[in-house]
Symmetry: C2
Subunit: 626 residues, 2 copies
């Protein structure tokens, strides 16, 4: 399990070690992820990432391949292996982890420094930290090492990671070198390493890296008119306590924020925690797509301004969705507030899960919310436009692997006298002697039955999240408020049942009036899922761009076990307008184009792009522009 606060940390909830997915929706998705992990190893070999480490270790000869961030892909993959081993041991995977661990240990320099590409090329360490990603790689190694130690008991990687952390601590900090890595992640990794080892200097270094940012020490030095010359790109424009919003490169920003939140938690810094909550709130309210995804701009892979959220050019990088989940998780532990669990659910289903195909393990790097056609050349060519097995910059695939492998972590938390269930899946959960089985057809149905398997003889509290969308929810038949936790406190006995029932009507959602790109459109959601229209589900000859949805009647759900690994589709009424006008701009007041009735079929957004490249829309126009 990831991000496990130390005993002294300022948190109100604690991760649970033994949560398990036992069936249903997530079991299927996690099995697909398990099947993808060995393929990931093949792709890391083909792309040369593992070769780089082997060359650095003297196990192979040749030139280093690719940029100096490539080690990080290996480390993320190792983290996935570790969490997957915890879900269900597999000795072949463990062997891979051991073999690679030895290679990595051998590649490490005597003084603790480690970056295979830099070493093989004989480059000066830390000379171009704004772009070299050396700390970033170190951070991912630390995360993998902590995962291996927690999940498998293997400590070879932890030894390497602590030696590297020691090297960092002896090289950077007040009175030492003051540059910062252009790409955060080392902050949260150092905190995790502190949690695992108890070594305070790692927390101190993390705090230093968090507080030192915002003075232009991470950004590319000198003048560069592109985003590379902009401190905002690196979350380096303002000190974290002065920043009101995340900005710049989205992955960097949310990784940094997660690390800053970790530091706040471990140092009991309530002021910093309040800052991070405020920044999250601004992101959620002004810079988040309806899918939860973050990142609006291709240029610089960046957050846009407030309300700049174009569906068609949504960058919505997979890694940014994962980073936002990590940040929300830390805020959930710190506060126990359901808004952060709502966020984790939204992100998981609609920003992370869409990034991997249902089969074949192909990935999205960029998660658009709107594709106009299926026939553009760059759909095939650009890694960012289509699902692909791997990428030149392959940060996303192993990030998805490690996130899904660690999914059970996010299901529930515990306190001394209670169990808090955040995500609904067929699962087995336990805290403080209270063990329960959760049974549900979620996300297709809102009925959740919690059956007590074991219970202590004392009073315990079972807290069930009632999502913000779950109006009309009941627990054991009694109405409960949505947007919080329904709490059942009593002395539980084995066999006791608690039933949460959440109505799941399809809903038309509209965006804030300040959001320009989605004016005149609705998004359709049902339960935790955001829906989309995709070409293959519409009658032949229908051009998606000419469909208009009728919001007068609610969409009708229909479960389709045969479709897309089993999904509930929605049928909605609408019209198909005649094609585009002759002139792209015309005076107001001309008559509406001809239209004929049309039924729209919507699928869950996460399941799109599994039948080749096709047109797709999340935001659907209502009736015309007049």
């Amino acid at each position: 399990m990831t991000a496990v606060p130390s005993p002294a940390a300022a948190v109100v909830l604690r991760p649970l070690p033994a949560s398990q997915v036992t069936g249903g929706f997530w079991a299927r998705r996690l099995e697909a992820n398990r099947a993808a992990i060995p393929l990931g190893h093949e792709r890391l070999v083909e792309a040369g990432n593992i070769g780089n480490l082997r060359i650095a270790a003297g196990e192979a000869a040749g030139e280093a391949q690719g940029a100096s961030f490539r080690d990080s892909d290996v480390y993320k993959w190792l983290e996935a292996v570790a969490w997957e081993y915890a879900r269900s041991p597999d000795e072949a995977l463990l062997d891979r982890l051991r073999t690679l661990g030895r290679t990595i240990a051998t590649a490490q320099r005597e003084d603790g420094y480690l970056n295979s590409a830099i070493q093989v090329r004989g480059e000066e360490p830390y000379a171009r930290l704004w772009t070299s990603h050396e700390h970033y790689c170190a951070g991912h190694l630390m995360q993998a090492a902590v995962a291996a130690a927690r999940a498998t008991g293997e400590t070879e990687l932890l030894r390497v990671a602590t030696r590297l952390a020691d090297h960092l601590a002896g090289t950077f900090g007040p009175g030492l070198r003051e540059e910062l890595d252009g790409h955060p992640v080392v902050e949260m990794a150092l905190v995790e390493l502190y949690r695992q080892t108890g070594e305070r200097r790692y927390l101190d270094l993390a705090r230093h890296f968090v507080e030192a940012r915002g003075h232009g020490r991470a950004a590319k030095p000198g003048f560069d008119p592109s985003h590379y010359g902009d401190p905002a790109h690196y979350s380096d424009r303002l000190p974290v306590r002065e920043a009101e919003t995340v900005e710049g490169h989205a992955v960097r920003a949310v990784y940094f924020a997660a690390g800053a939140t970790d530091v706040a938690i471990e140092t009991g810094d309530t002021e910093l925690l309040a800052v991070m909550r405020r920044q999250y709130d601004v992101m959620r309210r002004r810079k988040q797509h309806v899918t939860g995804a973050v990142g609006a701009r291709w240029d610089g892979e960046a957050f846009g301004e407030a309300y700049e959220l174009p569906p068609d050019r949504a960058y919505a990088e997979t890694c940014a969705g994962i980073g936002a989940m990590q940040w929300a998780w830390r805020l959930l532990l710190a506060t126990g507030e359901s808004v952060y669990a709502d966020q984790i659910e939204l992100l998981l289903y609609n920003a992370v899960l869409p990034a991997v195909s249902l089969a074949e393990a192909d990935y999205f790097y960029v998660n658009t919310l709107h594709r106009r056609t299926g026939a553009r050349a760059d759909v095939q060519r650009s890694p960012a436009h289509g699902r692909r097995p791997w990428f030149n910059c392959a940060c996303c695939p192993p990030n998805v692997m490690r996130t899904l492998a660690a999914l059970p972590t996010y299901l529930a938390t515990g306190t001394q006298d209670g169990l808090q269930v955040h995500l609904y899946a067929r699962s087995a959960l336990a805290s403080g002697g209270l063990a329960v089985d959760v049974d549900t057809e979620y996300p297709w149905d809102g009925l959740v039955t919690v059956t007590v398997r074991e219970a202590p003889s004392r009073e315990m509290e079972l807290a069930l999240r009632v999502p913000d969308w779950a109006e009309g929810a009941t627990v054991d038949g009694k109405p409960v408020e949505c947007g919080g936790y329904a709490r059942v406190r009593r002395v539980f006995r084995p066999g006791d049942r608690v039933v949460l029932a959440m109505p799941m009507p399809a809903r038309f959602m509209v965006a804030d009036d300040r959001m320009d790109a989605t004016r005149g459109c609705v998004a359709v959601t049902r339960g935790p899922l955001v829906y989309a229209i995709e070409q293959p589900d519409q009658p032949s000859g229908v051009v998606l761009e000419d469909l208009r949805i009728d919001t007068a009647t609610p969409p009708r759900p229909e479960h389709r076990p045969d479709l897309l690994d089993g999904v509930t589709v929605l049928r909605a009424d609408g019209v198909l307008e005649s094609g585009p006008a002759e002139s792209p701009y015309r005076p107001l007041g001309q008559p509406a184009p001809a239209a004929r009735p049309a039924e729209l079929t919507l699928i869950p957004y996460y399941a799109w792009a599994n039948r080749g490249p096709h047109a797709m829309r999340v935001w659907i126009p209502t009736r015309r522009n007049t």
Copy 2:
């Protein structure tokens, strides 16, 4: 005058040598441009462009500054000097031209090759044509040389340009080297050089460059997942005759299209001309902002897909607007159809003129149609976000200079028996013995009075463009169709008057239903001008993002000689909504936010950003999202 077809060319209209702006709106703007030209020289010295040429010529010592496209900025500036000299001679400017001409001639290698940065750095010529811009620089040199020859009679540059063209012709083509320059412009430049010198091999080489494109010979070789690896970026995905649309890097695409059109005109290739007309039509109908500007994506400075035209992230590069004007001009000459003159007018007022400040000669590289705030850090930092005196990549400022200096070219054309007036300005025009004075307060007023100064004794035709927006126009009191030419044919006599009266009500424009980014919004136009709301004109405390315009009553014009060098503003009714909702997405059907009446003041879009960085909108929301 630019793009002067050869006597044998397949055109129906011919440029006129002696058109002059004599006062009014454009006289003021051209005077500002004239004042900017000497500043351009200073900036070319400061940035090192002229230094590069001087080093290559052995006149100075040092290292070359910047990328190998930098010579082109000097050449564009020289072209501006030449056209400005033609408008009104200035011996100091001519001296600059002569001095620089000598430097350039000295810098040229014995074999005719010329690129200062490549030469100074001792790099292999043409080794990285996809990015080196060597042909691009050569093209701009040819254009400057032709301008100098036509406008000043100076032929030193022409000698250099023909030697370089000969070098190109001996190096590239069938049976020779087959690579193509990543950035077109040499195609139209070679055609102009052919027109000036009569040397057929230049036309042949231009035709080769046009026809050879589309086979991956211009794109960066090898795999690159970014736009640099995408042949579409270089207009190199499909042969010109197979391409249905412009795509990729916008400036490259329109420059290439203008060159292909030139080739079609000079070779009498009606098939190719039809292709270029079709491509223009697709651009106009699907890929052009309401301002006429083209280019939707920051990433790759590129065209988007059809109907992908976000106002807030409009790239709308100044050079792309200029290139589109050049393309439209060639199509106007070839066809005589008013749609191309309408385009020139739209582009000139709303895509090119906005790129230069009213005073101080500060430029936009990117012409956004929407800026949410005036306070973002990157407004100051990024050259693309604010007007600046110069840019690291300074293609745009001298491009504006040469375009405005050549403005008289675009006013009118001639045929054997007639004069066609395309743009309305206080001006003096003459063709085939018919000389007229045009008097007008255009663009503020639609009354245009044409007074005959001299006339031959034979019958002549005076053709006056009636813009597509000019519903209800009259000539000498008689109604004429808009979207064409009103033709007056008779034996004119000195003192004769023809009066064109065009009503200029403000109009609310809406976009095609397929255009997502502007749904629920209107743009306001009046005559040839697109209007915008900018912060300084609204009452204090009004947040532009919360203004909604009421389309029930037409905006009211008011001429303000004191404002922004004299503009007609528009007053419109609307409301100011209360600020953003708590939640960025909400179920459909919640009540509209509170609103209070508000008057909106609109200014011509070209005049925005002359009072510091402020929020601005071209597309204004009507009433809320419901």
